[in-house]
């Protein structure tokens, strides 16, 4: 359990650094979505299922949709 959690935390840290370094905005958003999903797993590990469900629906789902739509809007104006 401890080893698994540490690996997950390490993944979280790596993906958050990756968000910062990736140049492509869509890529950063996708990495952030992966980050949210991993966070969901961590919370499930910590026995907080309510939070895991909400984060999966809100954090990974809705937030990503909003980000992608914003990106679409921004690209659309440039065209």
């Amino acid at each position: 359990m401890k080893i698994f959690s540490m690996i997950m935390i390490l993944f979280l840290i790596i993906s958050s650094v990756a968000v910062s370094t990736i140049k492509n905005l869509l890529g950063a958003i996708i990495v952030f979505m992966v980050y949210s999903l991993m966070m969901t797993i961590v919370w499930q590990q910590l026995n907080a299922p309510d939070l895991a469900i909400t984060e999966a629906a809100v954090g990974a789902g809705i937030t990503t949709i909003l980000f992608v739509l914003t990106l679409k809007r921004i690209k659309g104006v440039r065209k």
Partner: protein, 120 residues
């Protein structure tokens, strides 16, 4: 150092918090800034949830018979952070809407370029 190894979840969440803080404060791109804000928020949530965990106990949902006080983890952080997640998504939506309008107004989402532009 040993304290950090004992509290590995908290340590991880603090590192995430720092990274989120740096992204929020020092990136120029607004979308990245908003992602940084989200990372910062989720890091605090992780910190809270880690404080509520008790090893070897169940999730705070009573299925079947009640297992007594010692059978479940602390439910308070989960309840608080449920509120926190919704607050975070509201703020994100607001910030993204502002970003869209900024782009329509200034034609850029890089903060330093926007600040350089004369507003009128």
């Amino acid at each position: 150092m040993e304290g950090l190894m004992n509290n590995y979840y908290e340590t991880g969440s603090i590192i995430l918090f720092g990274i989120g803080f740096a992204i929020l404060l020092l990136h120029n791109n607004l979308i990245k800034k908003i992602i940084g804000m989200n990372i910062m928020d989720t890091a605090v949530f992780l910190f809270f949830i880690a404080k509520g965990y008790v090893s070897g106990k169940d999730a705070p949902i009573i299925i079947g018979a009640h297992k007594g006080v010692q059978g479940y983890i602390n439910p308070v952080p989960s309840a608080l952070m449920l509120t926190g997640i919704v607050v975070a998504v509201s703020t994100t939506a607001f910030a993204l809407a502002l970003t869209v309008r900024i782009y329509e107004g200034y034609g850029s989402i890089e903060l330093d370029e926007i600040i350089k532009m004369r507003s009128d």
